[in-house]
């Protein structure tokens, strides 16, 4: 509980954490020792607003429902202050009283549950290994099956199905063969003497072809049929003839291996 010192001569306000505006109202009614059936709206409304201001000063997260209740109380206050022209049989406070009574019942039951919980949370039950080790399917009581459990079970089953039935992998026939690219590059290097690899790759629009060309180039470099040179990082890579003559059989053979 926090005590807020007011600057003026208004008595300090005690702040407990209220679980809602009805909770705060009940607290004020009890503190003022007034009857729930005959709430002095003007005084209670003022005290409610004092509380609300204190909560805001303390930067407590004042939920919207507290503000809604504040406006309702102001509305009731204005109705009570205005002299009623027609003697109406209905008291404007009726709805509020009804809701307070319903809420007070809930609070009574909640308090009973609280006391029961305090004692019963201290109970321990035997944790038997048979419960967790049992290979048998866990049996569920009909009582325990609700929509949420059903939905969760459905998702589990679908998840298991999808895990055991992964989508098929479609293997498309290779459109580019490493052996062909090897032969192409080897021929171009042999004919032209110097081939700019990056420029060649950049002119290809198909990623699959680019990959095939790179693999073919690496294969040629490994076989020493072609040398690759680069002056500095990211510069053009030039291919020039290597120190070995590659036979067409050698090209075909390695192409098959990596293809």
């Amino acid at each position: 509980m926090t005590i807020v010192e007011q600057e003026s001569n208004v008595p300090p306000v005690e702040l407990t954490i209220f679980s809602g505006p009805l909770d705060l109202l009940l607290h004020l009614i009890r503190k003022n020792e007034v009857s729930i059936y005959d709430i002095p709206i003007v005084s209670i409304c003022d005290q409610y607003h004092t509380h609300l201001r204190a909560m805001q000063e303390l930067d407590l997260d004042v939920a919207g429902e507290f503000l809604w209740m504040a406006s309702w109380l102001l509305h009731l206050k204005s109705k009570m202050l205005l002299p009623s022209v027609v003697e109406s049989e209905e008291d404007p406070r009726d709805e509020l009283v009804e809701r307070l009574l319903a809420y007070r019942r809930v609070k009574g039951l909640a308090s009973y549950l609280h006391d029961t919980d305090i004692v019963r949370r201290c109970l321990w039950t035997p944790e038997m290994s048979t419960k967790t080790d049992s290979p048998a399917e866990k049996e569920l009581d009909w009582e325990d099956v609700d929509l949420r459990l059903l939905a969760q079970t459905y998702l589990d089953v679908i998840g298991r199905f999808e895990a055991s039935h992964p989508p098929p992998i479609h293997v498309l026939p290779l459109r580019f063969k490493v052996e062909e690219k090897m032969r192409d590059i080897y021929q171009r290097v042999t004919n032209d003497g110097l081939v700019p690899l990056l420029r060649h790759l950049n002119s290809r629009s198909d990623p699959e072809e680019v990959v095939t060309v790179i693999v073919a180039t690496l294969e040629l470099v490994r076989l020493r049929g072609v040398f690759a040179e680069q002056r500095r990082a990211f510069a053009e890579i030039y291919l020039r003839p290597g120190d070995r003559q590659l036979s067409s059989k050698e090209l075909l053979h390695h192409g098959e291996n990596s293809g």
């Binding site: 407990t16 954490i17 679980s19 809602g20 505006p21 009805l22 909770d23 009940l26 607290h27 009890r30 009857s35 729930i36 939920a63 429902e65 209740m69 809701r99 319903a102 809420y103 007070r104 019942r105 809930v106 609070k107 009574g108 039951l109 909640a110 308090s111 009973y112 549950l113 609280h114 006391d115 029961t116 919980d117 004692v119 019963r120 949370r121 201290c122 109970l123 321990w124 039950t125 035997p126 944790e127 038997m128 048979t130 419960k131 009581d141 009582e143 325990d144 609700d146 929509l147 949420r148 459990l149």
Partner: protein, 182 residues
């Protein structure tokens, strides 16, 4: 099977069941032809009486749709010390209010809970669902088809009730304008 063996086997079943045991399950486990539910109930009552002594660390209690072994509450601190467990998490005031509303008015929707509490309760309801104290029980046939909530079997077991109707009448609890101190 003689009476002594019957008592002993019921004790053994209760001890190893790891949860509550229904009388029907006990009748099935022992010889059905020899003992009926009424006799088993009698044995259960006598076991409960035998265990209910200051120098016994086990109690037998009737919960939800069965019987189960528990330890007496005052031994909690020693058990926590042995198992190295800090105090268990308490239920918040908001959670207790939601439980009270659902227990008293079930089945009930979230908007109805919000109205009675005068405060938004959606996160509280979600937490209580996760703690398995509430369960969903269909949808209400009104605009928006909101979910209906009921208390679960765990709720009954935790609060030591056989049925939700065993909860005290809220009117009785708040009679004479006296509310328990906060």
């Amino acid at each position: 099977m003689d009476r002594e063996t019957l008592t002993a086997s019921i004790e053994a079943i209760l001890l190893t069941a790891g949860g509550s045991v229904s009388v029907a399950a006990l009748v099935e486990a022992v010889d059905e032809n020899e003992f009926d539910a009424e006799e088993i109930e009698k044995v259960l009552d006598s076991i409960a009486g035998t265990w209910d002594r200051p120098d016994s660390g086990i109690r037998l209690e009737r919960v939800a749709d069965g019987w189960r072994c528990v330890t007496p509450a005052p031994l909690d601190s020693y058990l926590r010390s042995y198992h190295g467990i800090a105090a268990r998490q308490r239920l918040s005031q908001a959670a207790l209010e939601v439980l009270a509303i659902v227990a008293h008015r079930q089945p009930v929707t979230l908007p109805e809970i919000n109205f009675i509490r005068g405060a938004n309760s959606s996160s509280v309801v979600r937490t209580l669902m996760e703690r398995k104290l509430l369960r969903m029980a269909g949808r209400k046939k009104v605009v928006g088809k909101p979910f209906l909530y009921r208390t679960s079997k765990e709720f009954l077991v935790h609060f030591g009730l056989e049925r939700a109707e065993d909860l005290p009448d809220p009117e009785e609890l708040v009679r004479d304008e006296t509310l328990p101190a906060e």
